[in-house]
Amino acid sequence: MKPESTPTSLLLNWRLHLIVIAMSVISEWIGIQSIPVANAKLLFLPLFYAFILCLFFNPNILKFSEKIITKKQASIAAPIIVIGILPFIAKFGTLIGPALPKIAEAGSAMIIQELGNLGTMLIAMPIAVLVFKMGREAIGATFSIAREPNIALISDRYGLKSNEGIGVMGVYVMGTMFGTIYFALLAGFFASTGWFDPRALAMACGVGSGSMTAACSGTLATSFPEMKDEILAFAGASNLLTNATGLYVAIFITLPFSEWFYRKLSKDNTSTITSKESH
């Protein structure tokens, strides 16, 4: 192995970090902005600009960027996020700890909202099967929010090269690329409608990955500054619970349900589509 391609030397290469620092600083300076939409408003946070700005520096997206940073040098960004989310998780924990008594009071709501995933299927599965005529990709794509544990489950059950695998990977990739941003926009929008208890919106923020939770609850906290600590604590606790229980909810509830729902929806086609796997 050439010396310049070891993880350590890639980690210490200044180009990637300099781009990240420069774009983060610019984004922080632009600050929080909002656009009114009907009676609600869309909130834009610095994390949003940082993401968009850095897309222009990604050599996999713009060929020109290869003059600034090579694909090899950019590739270390993936493992950095895995580690990079940890300091932020630690900060998150210090918001959950002091609020633990309050979270315990909301106990049942906290645990039962983990089933929100079923809502996903009721909306997304019919569109996937009936409108887009998707096959078993629909199961992989809609049974969960497609984070790492869900991919592990699908890869274990069906294999990642299977139709179900392609479905889950597609949504995973979309989530990685735009999920965080989308969750932030969604939270800001619902916050301004006043339809939900801010604590319920905060718990819903915890359904995805750590960075989704962060972006989503950050937006909520900006919308309800007087409830900031409580919101961040509820979102963090919900995400912790998702990490702990998400896999089991998927194994025992949402994946079997989506198999059943898929069979119902594609009744006409079941004779032609024969599944290769057997239980």
């Binding site: 391609s5 993401f51 996020i81 940890l86 300091p87 924990g93 089933l115 887009f132 929010i145």
Partner: protein, 160 residues
Amino acid sequence: MTTQTDTMNEEASKEIRLTLKESIIALIVMCLVSLVSNWAGAGTDFFAALPAMLIIFAMVVVGMLLSKFIPIGFPAVAWVSLVSVLLTIPVSPVAAPILAELKNISFLAMVTPVLAYAAMAITKMEVDLFKRSGFKIAVISILVFTGTYIGSALIANAFL
């Protein structure tokens, strides 16, 4: 020449797994980057926020060590949050000083660089997948995200 570039590209798209030492280097880099972002966003001086970042650094290292040496399949993320939650619950003797220091670090400013790295981490494979089946998958993904969010919010709202 061509084959060499191909292997290079293949190598670049392969997943890199970090050792504990490399993880700690990445962590130090991340903490420094976060301090700069925190300074730009919250206006807190780099050195004023340094003790807070050291506390966070220590929590993460403890969490990483726990996940390495207690192999019960608990990911590092869960250990780190367990450590920081337990240190700051109301009965913890160190809760007050830790919380007082951590006020110097803005929660949102810590997320900004993570998203910047996320944009840099998008690979050729992901761009290709997006181009190939972009439209359908994009619509389904938006439905999945919206459905899960509203589903959870509705249930939580009903049980609060």
